[in-house]
Symmetry: C2
Subunit: 640 residues, 2 copies
């Protein structure tokens, strides 16, 4: 077990009264916040260190010296507004608000936990002005707030922090002109220009060119400064105050991972392909070295003001049981994709800055000429794929399911109307991981894609089925496909038969049982259903047949009719909103085939919770125990 260290609230109180300049105080404050950010992320097991650290000097200064805040939440007060458009730097923002006492300090210990601090900003938390996490929406949101303020006679300043990778999103540019046309002088955008996006250098992913010139050409007032130099930063903001007839943009040159030497992107070696501290918690050694560096820095900063050294407090890292022998579907996909590409020279791969997460590194290394990194530009990526398909290629398009299914939704449909074949692969599908929160939990993708004609949606339930599903998509249908992939490592209690192969619209039993039948898909919930089946058998002698039905919008009616024969109850289980999910499709088909068996649908009915995987699964009553109880109760009332 490792001990984790944090700066307690009284330390933040203490530095309020230090004899020092505002800049010195803000620097100490920011170092404290970095220690607490590292603590929160290590404790949570995930979170974005790199961009929390690159933005922390800016955020600390704004909250300690610039913003006029409205603690009373009095709607009549013209309070200033700050939010981060990228949103994944929120651990740094939380640390700031915790240090100032604006958020209950105890929440320090519950980043990304149920009832704790969500993985991305959510307006349920004080001073979170808007929900961010999906990129590029910030300036639009701010313009709406400015319009509301003006109508209501308020004169607040609005500060929006953006990433630099985020500038690849079309909405960012779409949002610029009207801020100029409406002369939104109350709007200040700060670009946290840390040069590194999710995977690697912005210039490598999709070079933005001369951004100063771009912003100027859009009519914004532009300035640039070192985002870690508070003299420069505060004086740039001071100069901005004189400009009231135009929106302003400050390019703050920052260092990703700033504060811990070996996390700073400037320490990357020429041979380093990927930046390592964008997301995810550090291991124990890195954590210890990091906290040591930061503590030493804090003590030097304190010492410069003549103050006593920092007194950290300590908590044990909670023990987390990890799956011992998990299956990794994305890794299996990665391998299958390369194998397919060996056989098909027309296969090309497109990615939207999620190279690592989507398992594309082996493909990129093997087939660099057939790999297209599109940056955080999903609409552009999908329409490019459409163009490639029209000219004879077989494009396979990647992003997280939450983004891929919705941001370029019209573009996917446009491709579909051309009757070409495009494969879309959405990873990070479903409720889990639940730590990043609702912007990343893709529980609506089936509904937004299902109705597209000539598109088959399929989700494999284990590594073996991944290769079969990809093969089906590429070689066994003329239709476009959406391959839905769970990203978390899963301990999977079932195996598929040796000779198993996919048949469109048909599923396969994972357990036997004569009383009720449950249809589901994907590794997470089928594993829970499998265990529920064991519980029901042991505890209640109820036989629950669990069916892996990987098809999300095609079900073979003859097969369905046959497999439900003699069952008293049907359950469906969606790693998705019940609305628009597989369960709704199954129950609607039962009418078509004149079957009269009661159906109960399990799945999500409201915005999914943020937290650790097991606690969220349980909170939504989708864990094995809850499912077993629910199935037992339902059957007891209805048919037993």
């Amino acid at each position: 077990m490792i001990s984790l260290h944090y700066v307690p609230f009284q330390e933040f109180q203490r530095i309020k009264n230090l004899k020092c300049t505002p800049i010195q105080r803000s620097q100490i404050f920011a170092t404290y916040c970095r220690i607490n950010t590292l603590y929160m992320i290590k404790r949570a097991g995930s979170g974005h260190i790199g961009s929390s650290f690159s933005s922390l000097d800016i955020v600390s200064w704004l909250f300690t010296n610039e913003l006029q805040l409205n603690h009373q939440k009095d709607p009549k007060i013209s309070a200033d507004i700050y939010f981060s458009s990228k949103g994944h730097d929120v651990p740094g923002l939380y640390a700031t608000l915790l240090g100032l006492g604006f958020i209950e300090f105890d929440l320090l210990h519950s980043l990304r936990r149920l009832d704790g601090l969500p993985g991305h900003p959510d307006v349920s938390i004080p001073f979170m002005e808007t929900n961010t996490g999906p990129l590029g929406m910030g300036i639009s949101k701010a313009k709406g707030m400015a319009a509301a303020n003006r109508l209501q006679g308020k004169t607040s300043q609005i500060y929006v922090l953006t990433g630099d990778g985020e500038l690849q999103e079309g909405q960012f540019w779409e949002s610029l002109p009207s801020a100029v046309n409406k002369r939104l002088g109350e709007l200040t955008v700060i670009v946290d220009h840390n040069k590194i996006q999710s995977d690697t250098w912005v210039t490598k992913v999709s070079d933005l060119g001369n951004i100063e010139k771009k912003f100027e050409s859009f009519g914004w007032h532009v300035d640039r400064c070192d985002g870690h130099n508070l003299e420069a930063f505060s004086s740039a903001l001071q100069k901005f105050k004189g400009i009231t007839d135009r929106p302003k943009i400050l390019i703050a040159d920052t260092i990703k991972g700033k504060g811990i030497s070996f996390m700073e992107h400037t320490s990357m070696k020429p041979e380093d392909q990927l930046y390592r501290f964008h997301s995810g918690a550090p291991d124990d050694d890195i954590y210890n070295r990091g906290v040591k560096e930061l503590t030493e820095l804090a003590n030097r900063q304190l010492n410069n003001t003549g103050a006593e050294p920092l007194k950290l407090e300590t908590k044990d890292q909670p023990i987390r049981t990890l799956p011992t022998n998990p299956e990794r579907l994305v890794t299996a996909y990665s391998k299958a994709l390369v194998e397919q590409a060996e056989r098909n020279p027309k296969l090309v791969v497109l990615d939207a800055d999620l190279l690592l997460d989507c398992g594309l590194i082996p493909f990129q290394e093997r087939f660099s000429d057939r790999f297209f990194e599109c940056g955080i530009a999903e609409q552009d990526m999908v329409s490019q794929a459409g163009g490639m398909a029209l000219k004879g290629l077989l494009p396979v398009v990647h992003s997280f399911a939450c983004f891929l299914s919705t941001r370029p939704n019209e573009q996917i449909y446009n491709n579909a109307t051309e009757k070409t074949k495009v494969i879309y692969v959405g990873s990070l599908a479903g409720l889990l991981p639940s730590a990043p929160g609702h912007s990343h939990q893709s529980v609506r993708d089936i509904s937004v894609l299902s109705a597209i004609p000539r598109m088959i949606l399929v989700e494999p339930c284990n590594e073996a089925e991944v290769a079969l599903a990809l093969d089906f998509c590429l070689n066994r249908t003329s239709e476009s496909c959406y391959l839905r992939l769970v990203s978390i490592p899963c301990e999977i209690p079932y195996r598929l038969p040796q000779k198993y192969d996919l048949e469109l619209g048909k599923g396969i039993p994972l357990t036997e049982g004569n009383d009720a039948i449950l249809f589901g898909y994907g590794p997470i919930l089928l594993s829970q259903a499998y265990q529920a089946s064991m519980i029901l058998a042991d505890r209640h002698r109820i036989g629950l047949k669990v069916i892996n039905l990987p098809w999300l919008n095609r079900i073979d009616e003859v097969w369905l009719k046959k497999i439900i024969t003699n069952y008293k109850y049907i359950f469906t289980l969606d790693n998705h909103y019940i609305f628009g999910g597989q369960g709704q499709l199954i129950s609607s088909l039962l009418c078509d085939i004149d079957a009269s068996i009661p159906v109960k649908k399990f799945g999500l009915t409201d915005i999914p919770l943020c937290g650790q995987n097991d606690e969220v699964l349980k909170a939504h009553r989708l864990d094995a125990e809850s499912l077993a109880q629910n199935i037992f109760q339902t059957m007891k009332e209805k048919v037993l």
Copy 2:
């Protein structure tokens, strides 16, 4: 009856051999094409004259003098590619291709007809390189084509025409950087800079500022010329040929409606708020004056080369029966919106360049400070609305349903996760009008929005219900709402009771009948169902009870169970894909309430056809007669 005039194919053949310069020939060709464009649009009853005319000199020149085309469709040939990203200028492109014999000339007479020339480009028609109509996708598509060409060793030039209003779309800017980073010298973008977008001046809607400077700041090579001066245009293209290391953009200054004096935007008077010839067919008088002007122009141009005057051919305008006493839901909405706004000062309205079509002119005139014209920037609009809602306003957001539901789909969900209240109003919903084609036929909007938590989808069935539905959305629920509006004028055979009011999840019978029950919504298909009910009663003594169920994602189960009691068969009728529509929801609920009644769902199963409303309704077997036959057959087989 009016006679319509067109330039026959032999006239196009004749000018091939005229003794004149290529520019003179192209000018005559373009005038011919303008006559035929006007003919096609007048004959079709709709279409975009303004931008067809502004781009026709460019398009004619490209096809007669620049492009290396691949008539054999030999995949090995490096043929040049041209397409229009905006796509609604396609009548002009069709006229060009018809004049060159690249499309069977007889199709001249069937613009926007079943099996004719679609309202927006579709790859089923020769030389239509990609499906456009939704805006901003063109450069992305072209980049995909360029990538495919390069991989396959081809060296084609790719020309993409864009609008200027189109530059408001984020995807346009999103698509620019990688073309530079990949040095796509084979890509030439021509901006048809006609200064007018759907409603009015681009500068008035959302001023683009200095576009030359913008494109340059993105690293593109930029030039500018008069788009009607072929010397200037061709010499600009000539200069572009020397630049092979960068993509190129040519800003072609053009005149919307160019060629017919009173259609030219330069003839607009200072007091003219709206440009009148963006879409829609001209009336008889305007048509006659227009064709006269163009014919005189052609004859002057011919005379300059010493050639004989133009010999037009003539066809009678087909007689079209219009509804004699139609209801107009958008007009009713327009009135209801102003009434609601009088009562609620927090109500604000956002629009995406469809002021006229969405019925917003009365609101804009009455409440100019609460009206926000966002331009063709749906994502920005929706996120702005989110910001307004967070700061205490009640935003009502407008666009065509096809765009509003899909382009900003992630933004709508992001707003929903903030649990604020935003009203979305999607007009032009459903299969009809079918003349614009699949990019505009919104038959997927229910599916892409239904699963969003805390959002109610409602579609009124006549003018009276529009006001009730808007009142419900604004005042009778705390949830966000999507108000789905049919835009075509409808002859409606039913009336709602005097004291009718909406009850969430419940419907109301429009006809009585004891044999089968049909659920539907909206004026178009409920009118067909009503008539089908009459046919079934007269012809087969089958009593079909037609229910208006305006709720698209909420159905009261108790009400449903009660109303279907004693019926032998349930029919559902979706002005939408069956997938994700109301019928699927109803049939899935029947299982939940243990009802065992067979259900048959009517609606769309594949990409909707383009054509006149009546012929398309019939082709999809959704007209009264087809419905009656289908219902009779189904019942005969199953229950009679």
